[in-house]
Symmetry: C2
Subunit: 169 residues, 2 copies
């Protein structure tokens, strides 16, 4: 495999659809008035999928360190038993790297999206993705995924010095 430098793409619900959901207060969401008119509910923005397994939904916080760019990627992961959602707890951009593929990710089809402030992602069950990629500062994310019996983590080591992410700043 020859070294590749990923192209940075804007994150939209349409381009991300093969990989999961974009969690955002968008005009295309179902909007419900609630709280006596004091709030609007952007309803049901992500599919929480436990694969019918015995597990339970977990709510956790990830505190993520910023990365240095250009960045060489060395690992992808996926969760065969559940979706996994990340919602940033401050309006900061970050990167989202995903790949199609089943037993192995298709590296020539890796995608790198720039999540805008206010955008979260929900990786669909079994989708290969890179761990969190924060940009300029320590960033907290709310995570909604799964706990319970069964192995819910698969990892894939990328070939060394082959997949690069350019500086998005």
């Amino acid at each position: 495999m020859r070294p590749i430098t990923l192209r940075l793409e804007a994150l939209t619900a349409a381009v991300f659809a093969p990989f999961g959901d974009v969690i955002e207060a968008s005009d295309s969401a179902q909007r419900l008035p609630v709280n006596q008119g004091y709030a609007e509910r952007y309803h049901d923005l992500a599919t929480v999928d436990l694969a019918g397994s015995e597990g339970k939904v977990l709510i956790s916080i990830f505190r993520s360190q910023p990365r240095q760019f250009p960045l060489c990627l060395n690992l992808l992961e996926r969760h065969p038993l559940s979706s996994q959602a990340f919602m940033p707890l401050a309006p900061l951009p970050y990167l989202v790297v995903v790949a199609p593929g089943d037993d192995e990710p298709k590296l020539q089809a890796l995608r790198c999206f720039v999540a805008a402030p206010g955008q979260g992602v929900n990786y669909a069950r079994g989708i290969w993705h890179h761990p969190l990629l924060s940009l300029q500062q320590i960033s907290d994310f709310l995570c909604i995924d799964r706990g319970g019996p069964g192995m819910n983590l698969q990892e894939y080591s990328l070939p060394p010095l082959q997949v690069w992410v350019p500086n998005p700043n």
Copy 2:
């Protein structure tokens, strides 16, 4: 009932325990290193409770309007079939009003907590609470609750001009 003005209390996991969970990256949480050391997972911070019902977990965004203070409260609500979590998507304070009680809230035992930036709450199933109370600006919250068959909302009208929240600003 004589008019009461709620006392503003700091939100902590200990004082909120009878009503649910405080969702925060606290030192007392179980902390797991993840993402090859680039992130720390504050693990399993809230109990998502669907009451064994047929429903599914929903992820939504609430866009909440700020309130004017002093504020007269006129409504409490609760969800008999599920917990309901709210996590602010920007580091802003807000207010959390809850009451003990089963068929009716015990109004003399109403509590009003000031959530600090970075604190979310998860109302336990069946806990009486006031809708979102944002302070100085329009505020987005991630909400994790339930969709599905069955009536999951009960409302209780407060007596007029009886329950007041002082200005927290």
